[in-house]
Symmetry: C2
Subunit: 156 residues, 2 copies
DNA sequence: CTATATAGTACTAAAATAGTCCTATATAAG
DNA sequence: CTTATATAGGACTATTTTAGTACTATATAG
């Protein structure tokens, strides 16, 4: 497993759709039609994204949603966080004090490193990459990853 | 979120414990005492790991479990897979035909790349790394990651 | 033969996720 | 100023997944 929730998956589909016309306003009903995701679900996702400042909303007649920032400035890690809350591979990564063994845990530090590596991979992919065909962003994934990982080496 | 299950977390704790004495047999009851994880849970985890050939089991009096391979030859991705099944960030990564939009999905390829990047990060960390203090394996995470990511670039 | 330990399987309980619905509020247009 | 339309926010329900338990079968050291 190690899976992103369905809502997050929808979120990326919806955001990718919006990213194709970043300057237009997209109403929830329009997005339902273009993406095939049920309206109440679309609506829920849009609200969450808007709350996280990934989308801007406009109320009233002819209202709708648009990107709050250029596609290249929103990454997948942000989207996941907006829908699911803080990314943490293990429980103790996001919330301390839950695990009884925490104080004596020998491997916590190692999980933190793994978590960081995963986060970096997700952070490296932006909406612009998602909207573009596959081959484009393989490079983008590779480059920042390498740099980040080397910082990790120094850090510890 | 994007979280590994508690059972997987227990699995790493248990495996790390066993990895410290790779040549001894460890009974489920011993492991309960050393790790603080409840016996039925320990038992369940051990069975799953043994089924996945990460552990070897010996039945009967003085039976127990030991590592099937040297600590450096079992990685975190294998452990996750043993407990939770195939790693896939999105549903369509592990099982095809579930998503109705699959044929027209524009971003499937991008999710596959992200998934691969995450998998590589997990694959790079072995039990030997988990058993060692933190600073050791930061290097191990960094190195194979870089190489793998560059292969991705070529591949697409 | 017997005590002990794993193997396998089925079941129950709890928690997280997904999805729905309803009411309030903002705004463009007549 | 009124109305139709669209988002905001929250509460609620159903479903699915995960965690944990229990029981029976099988292997083995002494």
């Amino acid at each position: 497993m190690l899976r992103v929730s369905k809502l997050t998956d929808y979120a990326t589909v919806i955001l990718t759709h919006i990213a194709h016309q970043p300057d237009e306003l997209h109403a929830a009903s329009d997005i339902t039609q273009s993406t095939g995701v049920a309206l109440p679900t679309v609506s829920k996702v849009l609200k969450l994204l808007s709350k996280a400042n990934i989308l801007m909303s406009h109320r009233g007649v002819k209202g709708g949603y648009q990107l709050a920032k250029p596609p290249s400035e929103t990454n997948v890690a942000e989207v996941i966080t907006a829908i699911e809350g803080p990314i943490g591979i293990t429980e103790c990564t996001t919330s301390e004090g839950i695990c009884e063994q925490e104080s004596s845990c020998e491997i916590k530090g190692n999980w933190n490193l793994i978590n960081r590596a995963v986060y970096t991979a997700l952070e490296a992919v932006t909406l612009a990459d998602m909207a573009a065909p596959v081959r484009e962003h393989a490079v983008n994934v590779a480059m920042p990853m390498t740099k980040e990982m080397n910082e990790l080496k120094v850090e510890t």
